[in-house]
């Protein structure tokens, strides 16, 4: 069974690699299998881990418990979401959607403010002290110029340009900020390339190990 799984994995991997020669049926077959298995598994997981364990199991286990009562509201909201599939009664599903968006926005906004903006502004302010003057200034310059780049790059027409020297300064800021962005995107691309190489290495390592195991399996089989 392990050999079969290893062999199927190896074949699907080769089918994905076949995209190097162009779009082909093997690539699409492997892609559909991957997506299908993933969606099916995700659906099963949602039904089992969310609807059953987090809602029905609690109600069926002790309907009068606090967890059960607290589960009723999410369960009703979840049922109301099903009406989104019926245009005539779609308005019923808007209430749980509104609730989800409201709660999600509130959670995200609070977390972004506390977890992202304030810490990063603080970090930028502490950059010179923590990173040294050069790195600190570079961080501050990079942060400011990047923000200015997004600010001034939004101007498209001549009328929106600043008059005189201020426009030239703005252009300088935009250009400098774009340089910082290039470095940032370069670093991100390097990280992505490193991640892709890691995936390639992992797949190559998988194939090599698969071949090794098949060889061992075949050798052991032949040795018998």
């Amino acid at each position: 069974m392990e050999i079969a799984g290893l062999l199927i994995g190896a074949l699907l991997t080769l089918a994905i690699f076949s995209y190097l020669i162009g779009d082909n049926s093997l690539y699409r077959l492997a892609l559909y299998i991957f997506i299908g298995v993933l969606v099916g598994y995700s659906l099963g997981t949602a039904l089992h881990d969310v609807i059953y364990k987090m809602a029905l199991a609690r109600i069926l286990e002790d309907p009068l418990s606090g967890e059960a009562r607290a589960t009723v509201i999410p369960l009703v909201l979840g049922i109301m979401l099903l009406f989104q599939g019926f245009p005539r009664y779609a308005y019923i599903g808007r209430y749980p959607v509104a609730y989800l968006l409201g709660v999600g926005t509130a959670v995200a906004a609070g977390g972004a403010l506390v977890g992202t903006l304030v810490p990063q502004i603080g970090a930028t302010g502490r950059a010179i002290r923590t990173m040294g003057p050069l790195d600190g200034l570079l961080v501050i310059a990079g942060t400011v110029l990047t923000l200015l780049t997004f600010t001034f790059s939004a101007r498209k027409s001549q009328q929106q340009e600043l008059p005189g020297a201020r426009e030239r300064i703005a252009k300088l800021f935009r250009a400098t900020g774009q340089v910082f962005l290039l470095f940032a995107f370069g670093a991100a691309f390097a990280g992505a390339l490193t991640a892709a190489l890691s995936a390639l290495i992992g797949r190559a390592q998988y194939l090599i190990e698969a071949v090794d195991r098949l060889w061992v399996f075949i050798s052991s089989y032949l040795a018998r």
Binding site: G111, V114, A187, G191, L197, S198, A204
Partner: protein, 776 residues
Amino acid sequence: MIYCPKCGSANRRGSRFCNECGEPLPTHTALRCPMCGAMNPVGNVYCDRCQARLVPMTATPPEEKRYEPPPIKGLSLPTIPLEEKKEEAPPAATEDWLAQLRPAAIPQDVTREESLPPPETGREADWLEQLRAASAAQETGAEEADAWLRQLRESIPPVSPPLEPEPLAPAELPDWLRGVAPPEAPEEAVPTAELPDWLRGVAPPEAPEEAIPTAELPDWLRGVAPPEAPEEAIPTAELPDWLREIAPPEAPEEAIPTAELPDWLRGVAPPEAPEEAIPTAELPDWLREIAPPEAPEEAIPTAELPDWLREIAPPEVPEEAIPTAELPDWLRGVAPPEAPEEAIPTAELPDWLRGVAPPEAPEEAIPTAELPDWLREVAPPEAPPGPLKSPIVPPLLEFPSETATGEIPDWLIELGKEVAPGAPAPPEIEAGGVIELARAEIPPWLEAMRPRPEAPLKEPVETEGLLAGLSGVLSPVLKLEVPAVRKRPPAAEIKEAPLARAQLLQRLLTQPIEVPQPEVRRRGSGLGARIQGWLVTVVLIVAVVGTLLVPRILPGTSLPVHLDTSPARSVYGIIQGLSAPATALVALEYGVAEADEMNLVAEPLLRHLLRQGAHLSIVTTQPEGKLIAEDMLRTIAAPESLYTIVEYRPAGATGISQLLAGAREKPGVILLLTARPASLRWWIEQTQARGEKLTLVAGLSAALEPAAAPYLNAGALQAALYGLGGAAAYESEGGLPGRATERLDALVAGHLAVIALILIGAIIHTLAGPSQEGRR
């Protein structure tokens, strides 16, 4: 006998009241026979002497004729008192004479002599008695006279249409003509009062007071006339030839043979018969007896004589007689011959004959042959243009006395005028006339109804359908109201611009929808790009696979790698600082696609935690996270290891917040294993949002290093380990050899290969110049 007018019973003569019912009997009234002049008691229908009809025959419609009334005997019929009749209408002398001529010709019926009332005394009675005596003296007996009279009467019926089946049927005759039509039976004489005017003139007078002067009689009648004949006789030359023959004996040289004369005329006829008599075979039968033997060359045309005179008039020998075949059968016997070319002028006629004399035929008279058959009978004689003032001249059209002139349609009068344009007007009504037939004036409204002589309109004849062959069929007219058709309002004037827009819109709507697709230029579709792609692929595969295979082929060989161990050292220190039974909350937030890289990062960290004796609580917001965690822990976890897979947590940041809020105890460390920036941000933010001092370390993909650096510098993330390099550094730092170290050479080889490709490409790009795509 006097019959009671009420009960009809007979009473003795001279009775004044009826013996049966007491009804007063008419003593001074009697019916005079129009034929013989004998007086008949009231109630008689036929004359007791001559059996002539006393009650007038009125023209009745056919349906009325079918009705047979009960015998009228015993009824009081309308009569005319003799005294009043004498006062009102004194007949002319000639009429009286003619009226007396007939009874004189009628032989005496000896058997009825006794029943008849005694004839009235008068001069005519005397000479009639002599005439009778003379007749009786001759060989003719009474029976022979009756036979002759019957024969004469039988010759008349052809004039009556109803008696003849072949001629015009009574039904075909108009009502007004039925009265004019010849009598059905000659035996039924019409009373004088009911006769038309022109007949009254020739009818025998009932009681002429004055005898006819002999001078006014024709010569041939002078022998019949009473002895007191007038002294001045009409010259024989002025008489017509046919009258000369019946004139007194001394007139004609050629007497009619006695054998050919009627019996009653033999005594009257001149003794000497003409030598050249008309052959009897050429005469009609009925005329052989009365016709004069010789046909005079210039005789009064028979057609111009009244009908009753034709019977006794001498037959003409017309030069151009109308063919008998053209006449109706019933007229053949009485059809008058055409008038002679030279008629006797009226002035030359005796006075008494002027009334009877035929009018002078007009020069342009319509020939009789051109008239319809039914009009030949009633057609007026061809009279001269000037009206005859003689009251006895028959009118153009004779109508029964009962018929008012106003009832005669004008068209018939007009037609009569057309037949005889020069015909005289109806006889003038004298002041003392008995009958006053005044022409009624036709009212205008009736005049408008007169049928026009125009030819009838030719109406179309149906050619098809059930009514085929019928004419005058009304054309079908649609009577149903046709529903009103809604008139559409006139089209508004359309300008060119809106019309062009409408046409454009219509053209666009009818065209198939072709969404303009932006031209996507597939990268690498060209041969050079394919070669570049294949070249890069081969280089990378060779670099990676070769690096991986080298240790297998050449064990102990590796590439020199300088690892930055500072991040790994930070992480390692945090994990190393956990003490048992610490709880580590592991957030596994990567999928299958990132598993090849992230598994190499996660394995040294998890092994380190497990080695530290931490209780792993594995949570994930990815559906497949649970599968990856199970597979990985099955590989690295020892049987005694404690770990718990908390289940899948949906809802992203909310789920993470709810998870952190629902944690029963504060985890010692939160290990975030993710390759997605969102998961990194959510976990960092929610951890910071909790307000609690939580240790958050992350094992991230190499691609997230730029994203995690700010959080790491800001202190939101305490430590982070990036990619295969960081994992290898962690393994080396912790003395935990693993697959990351094995694959680090492949990663370095891959980086070198990529650097080499970038450099080669840059060099080629520099040397070859920008490509066409780059120039665009």
